[in-house]
């Protein structure tokens, strides 16, 4: 009997410990980044371009580049993702076609980010001759976050009660009008919050933009979607591994990490908060 109590305590201890380790890892990581990065953050750091071969100055072009790439990615992925999700939840019947599409979405979600980079290089940069530029990078990132958007949209569409659809159809409204006027407006907040998580993902990815959009350093800001850009994640990688003054630029590196993490986790956190209030405040 004693042994049984001991086992019980041991198991519960391990379970609690693992949850604690995970929370501790996130907490420790964030604390470390803020602790070391906050000193580098200033108005100049956020608004000036790098100077003296990137050993001084700010990171404004990288912030701007990440913004452009992310906006481009979401503009591409959002309509595609919502349309796919509408088909999967509203039209598709269980069967082989649906199964194939489902497997396709799952497999796309599992493609390694570096493979997306190679694909973007092969298709957009080389074959379509866009070159390494905002357009190529945004298209690559858009494809990368497509499964995230589809998943979020599906969840939101599924949470719209079936009775809404039935009530509309019973009034003689066509299926498309029902979707367009009833289902989509009810699901839209959920779709958008889910999509914000996609934004976070697109902003933080490095490997897909390495060969498709990101530049070491650009002397001027991009003037069209066919220009190369600097981007926050790539900037971190470059400063931390390829610079000639790796140790001397540590403060800039920490500062850039803090800005990127703040941006990505800030966006994620907003999505999580809106989602939880939406769930609590459901009208149905």
């Amino acid at each position: 009997m004693r042994w049984r109590y001991f086992k019980e305590a041991l198991f519960f201890g391990l379970v609690r410990l693992s949850a604690l380790i995970i929370a501790g890892a996130l907490g420790g990581l964030l604390f470390y980044i803020v602790w070391h990065g906050i000193g580098a953050i200033s108005w100049d750091f956020l608004t000036l371009p790098p100077v003296d071969s990137m050993t001084k100055g700010g990171i404004m072009p990288a912030i701007l580049g990440t913004l452009y790439l992310t906006i481009g990615a979401i503009v591409i992925a959002l309509p595609l993702g919502i349309m796919s999700a509408i088909y999967l939840t509203e039209y598709a019947k269980q069967g082989p076609a649906m199964r194939v599409i489902r497997i396709g979405v799952n497999c796309l979600a599992g493609v390694p980010s570096i493979v997306f980079g190679l694909f973007g290089l092969g298709l957009f940069v080389v074959f379509l001759q866009f070159g390494s530029c905002i357009l190529s990078g945004a298209l690559t990132l858009g494809i990368l976050i497509l499964p995230t958007i589809i998943g979020a949209s599906e969840e939101a569409l599924k949470s719209v009660p079936q009775t809404f659809r039935e009530a509309s159809l019973a009034l003689g409204v066509s299926k498309w009008q029902t979707i367009y006027r009833i289902v989509l407006p009810s699901a839209l907040p959920g779709i958008l919050t889910g999509s914000i998580l996609g934004i976070g993902r697109a902003a933080g990815e490095t490997a897909p933009i390495m060969f498709t959009a990101a530049a070491f350093y650009t002397a001027r800001l991009p003037s069209s979607i066919f220009d190369e850009v600097m981007a926050l994640p790539f900037h971190i990688y470059v400063l931390a591994t390829a610079g000639t003054h790796i140790e001397a630029t540590r403060p800039i590196q920490y500062g850039t990490v803090l800005v990127l993490v703040g941006l990505v986790l800030g966006v994620d956190l907003i999505a999580i908060i809106i989602r939880s209030t939406l769930r609590k405040r459901k009208r149905w």
Partner: protein, 295 residues
Amino acid sequence: MTRKLKEIIIKRIFFLFACVSILILALIVTFLFREGIPIFRMVSVRDFLFGSEWYPTFDPPAFGIWPLIVGSFIVTFFSTMIAVPLGVLSAVYISEIAPRPIKEILKPVIELLAGIPSVVLGFFGMVVLAPWLQDTFDLPTGLNIVNASLMLALMAVPTISSISEDALYAVPREFKEASYALGATKSETILKVIIPSALSGISTAVILGMARAIGETMVVLMVAGGAAAIPESLFDSVRPMPASIAAEMGEAPFRSEHYYALFATGIVLFLLTLAFNLIADYVANKFKEVGSGTL
């Protein structure tokens, strides 16, 4: 009639959009092969996969990616060893044990952990973990298998935890109640009833976590050390496939043998993760959790 026709057309349009994912997968395959296959005019598939020397810039160059494949599998294996217990046990904690307020905090925490950009974890591994490992174990370098596995585990934990949690949550109440009624303790119920019932979901979680680890680029690029050799100890450096592609593509001359070889490495990586995902899909569907209806 026109209304009906319109509806049919709209349905078709949505169907086309739903097929975009499939189309993209097909395009990925097409373009990886288009840029990767030419290497096999130079080296045989066998020599490419199992050749033990990766000297792409030497004269004559050697394109054997076996050390890269081994590197990928080693870091994936060890990160899975770390991430599975952490991920599954934390899922148990969230779904079975945690009081509601803690649960409401812990779930977003795991989601945020999943959101941390991989380059940031790579950076952390480089500037914090590497020097610490080097000093503590008196190593020539802290950029090695241990470091990469630990950081990769951090990336895989959220995937494993959240999918496992869904699986545990789906286990019918009746199973638990029946177990308690027989006098089982809570831990016995979890270990012998709930986890086995959720096993297919947990397996899916583990496979997807492994797929995430094997395909992850920035962490292994920054902290695995980059030695393209078969490692002899846990503190040796390795050069997993994604790291090799990311590090060398910038320098490989356009459409040179080296460039083709890197794309071919991408094909291997893509096929591996595809296999992982198809297995996960198969497991998830084949061994669906038994519902209370089957009691």
